[in-house]
C-alpha cells in the first residue's frame, strides 16, 4: 500500500531503505543461506574440510534418540509454560478487571516482571527451589513428601525451569488479557446480568469466547517465548542437565554447534527450528485474517 499523496525522488527512497536492507541481507538472509548450505555438509570440528552429504545430517538428526528426546522435552516444557502463565495471567487479569478502583495500582505491581531478564528470573528461582537452602523447596518436601532435588533429578529440574519461565511471562499475559477484557462492551455484560446470568456464567459464556483471539495470540507468543527466549534460564541454572532432562531444542543447537563443534548437525537443527517458526508465523497470520472478519 502507498499513500495517495507521495513524493517523487530518484535517490532518496533508496537511501532511506538502504540501512534496513543491508542489515537484513547481512544478518538474516546470508546467515540463513549459509545455515542451509552447512546443513548439507559434513565437516571436521575445525571446519577445514567438508563434504557434501545431501540430507545425511537431517536423517542422522531424526534417528538420533537424543534429538527426539529433546523434541519431546521442548514440547512438554513449552506447553507447560504456556498453560501455567496463561492460566495465572487470565486469572489475575479477571480479578483486576473486577477490582475497578484498584486497576492502575494492580497493573503497576504486576507489570515489572516483564523487565526482568529470563536469566535473572532463573537465578531467583534457583535460590527458591535450591535443594538445601530454598524455601519453596522446603515447602515441597514438607507438603508433598518428595525428595526434591533439581540438581540431580530430571523431573524436578524441569519443574524448576517451568516455574522460572512461566513466572516471568505472567505479566506479559496479564497486560494482554487486561486489554482484551477492557475491550469487551459493558452493555453485553449488563444485558446478560439483567437476564439473570451469574458472574461466573457471564465469564464462561461471554468473556471467554470474546477473549479467544487474545487467547490464541498469547498461546503462540508464549510457545515462541518458551522455545527461544528461555535459553538464558537454561544456560544459567541447569545447562540442559541433569542428564539432558532440560536440553530443549534451542539449547541443543548451541551445545552441538559451539560446545560440541558438530557444525553440520547444529546447522540442520537451526534449519528445523527456522522452518518451525515460519510455520507458526504463517499459522498466526492466517488466524489474524480471520480475526479481522470476526470483528467486522
Amino acid at each position: 500500500m502507498i499513500k495517495r499523496a507521495f513524493f517523487k525522488s530518484k535517490f532518496l527512497p533508496y537511501l532511506l531503505i538502504l540501512p534496513q536492507i543491508v542489515i537484513t541481507l547481512t544478518f538474516f538472509y546470508w546467515p540463513a543461506l549459509q545455515g542451509i548450505i552447512q546443513s548439507t555438509l559434513l565437516s571436521d570440528p575445525f571446519g577445514r574440510q567438508s563434504k557434501f552429504v545431501w540430507f545425511y545430517n537431517y536423517i542422522a538428526l531424526f534417528t538420533d534418540p537424543l534429538y527426539l528426546k529433546s523434541i519431546f522435552t521442548t514440547l512438554v516444557f513449552s506447553l507447560a509454560v504456556a498453560a501455567v502463565s496463561l492460566f495465572f495471567g487470565l486469572f489475575i487479569a479477571t480479578m483486576a478487571n473486577r477490582a475497578l478502583q484498584a486497576t492502575a495500582v494492580v497493573r503497576t505491581m504486576l507489570i515489572w516482571p516483564y523487565a526482568v531478564a529470563p536469566a535473572i528470573s532463573g537465578i531467583m528461582w534457583l535460590f527458591l527451589l535450591h535443594p538445601s537452602y530454598g524455601v519453596v523447596a522446603l515447602g515441597i518436601k514438607k507438603w508433598f513428601g518428595v525428595n526434591w532435588n533439581p540438581v540431580l533429578n530430571g523431573t524436578d529440574a524441569m519443574v524448576m525451569i517451568i516455574m522460572a519461565s512461566a513466572w516471568k511471562q505472567i505479566s506479559y499475559n496479564f497486560v494482554f488479557f487486561m486489554a482484551g477484557l477492557q475491550a469487551i462492551p459493558k452493555s453485553l455484560i449488563e444485558a446478560a446480568a439483567m437476564d439473570g446470568a451469574s458472574p461466573f456464567r457471564r465469564f464462561v459464556t461471554i468473556t471467554l469466547p470474546l477473549l479467544s483471539p487474545t487467547f490464541f495470540f498469547l498461546s503462540v507468543m508464549n510457545i515462541i517465548y518458551s522455545f527461544f527466549e528461555t535459553f538464558g534460564i537454561i544456560h544459567t541454572i541447569t545447562q540442559g542437565g541433569p542428564g539432558g532432562a532440560t536440553n530443549i531444542l534451542v539449547y541443543k543447537v548451541y551445545q552441538d554447534g559451539f560446545v560440541g563443534l558438530n557444525l553440520g548437525s547444529s546447522a540442520a537443527q537451526s534449519v528445523v527450528l527456522m522452518s518451525l517458526i515460519i510455520l507458526i508465523t504463517a499459522l498466526q497470520f492466517k488466524f489474524v485474517e480471520k480475526k479481522v472478519q470476526y470483528t467486522g
Binding site: I17, L110, A119
Partner: protein
Amino acid sequence: MVEKTPLLDLFTYLFLILGIFIVGFPIIYSLIAATLPLEEVSKVPMPLVPGNQFMVNMTEAWTRGDLATQIFNSIVMATGITVGKITVSMIGAFSIVYFDYRFRAVAFASVFCTLMLPVEVRILPTYEMAANVLGPLQPVWEYLHMNDFLSWFSGHDIDISLNWSLLDSYTGLTLPLIASATCTFLFRQFFLTVPEELCEAAKMDGASPMTFFRKILFPLSKTNIAALVVIEFVYGYNQYLWPLLVTTNPKMTTAVIGLQNLIPMADDLPEWNVALGGALLVMLPPVLVVLLMQRWFVKGLIEKEK
C-alpha cells in the same frame, strides 16, 4: 460491576492480593536475602526479617562481579539497539509508505519475511558472519583479481584478505540485532493512518520529503517512539544468547551474562546474599524504565503485536 456481590468482591480482592504476592514473592524474598549475612542466608529456612548487611552485600556483588563495567556495557548495548532499531525502521517505513519506486514492493517483502525470525534460530551462521562481516565479499574480491591489480598498481606484492570482525565490540553486540521487521511494520501501519491531507498540504507549501519527515511525521510519531523505546530497551538489555557468543573478553560481557559468575556452585560458600544482591542491581535499569514509562509501555506492547 453490574450487581452488588459483596462476597465475590471480597474473594476478588483476596485472590488479587494473593496473586500479587505470588508474582512479587521471588523479588521480596531476594531482597530480604540480600540484606542478610552469610550465616543467616544459609539457614534453613531463611529468616524473613531483613538484616542490616544490605550495603555490604551490594558492594561485594558490585566489585566481585565487576558490575560497573558490565551494567555499562548492557546499557550501551540496549541504547544502541533501541536507537538503531527505531531510526533504521522509521526511515525504512518512511521510504516504503511515502515514495513510489521500482523496488518498493520487493524491499518491503524482503524485510517482512524476516518477521519473527529470532537470532536464536540462526546463531551459528550469524556468528560466523559477525566474526568476519566482509567474508561474503572475499570471493568477489578474488574473482576481480583485486590483489593482482593492486600489486600491479603499486609495484609491490600485496595480499589483502577482507576481514572485519565484530567480536568483542559494541558494534558486534548491537548491529546484528538492529534489523527488525516488527518495528518497520509498526511504523508502516502508523504512517498509513496519518491523514493524506498533511502530506498534500506540505507538498503544496513546497516542503521537501525530509522536511515533511522532520517537521510533521516525526512529531506525530512521538508516542509510538516512546512506546518502542521502552520495549526495545528491555529487549536489548535482556539479550542473552547473542552477547554470550560475540563476547569472550570479560570487559565486554553484559551484566545479565556476567551474573552467572556470582551464583554459588556446589563447592563454593553458599553466598546467595551476594548473588541475589547482584541480580537485583542488574535488573534495576530495565525495571525502572518499564515502571517510569508504564503508560507508553502498555500501549506499545499491545500495538506492536497487533
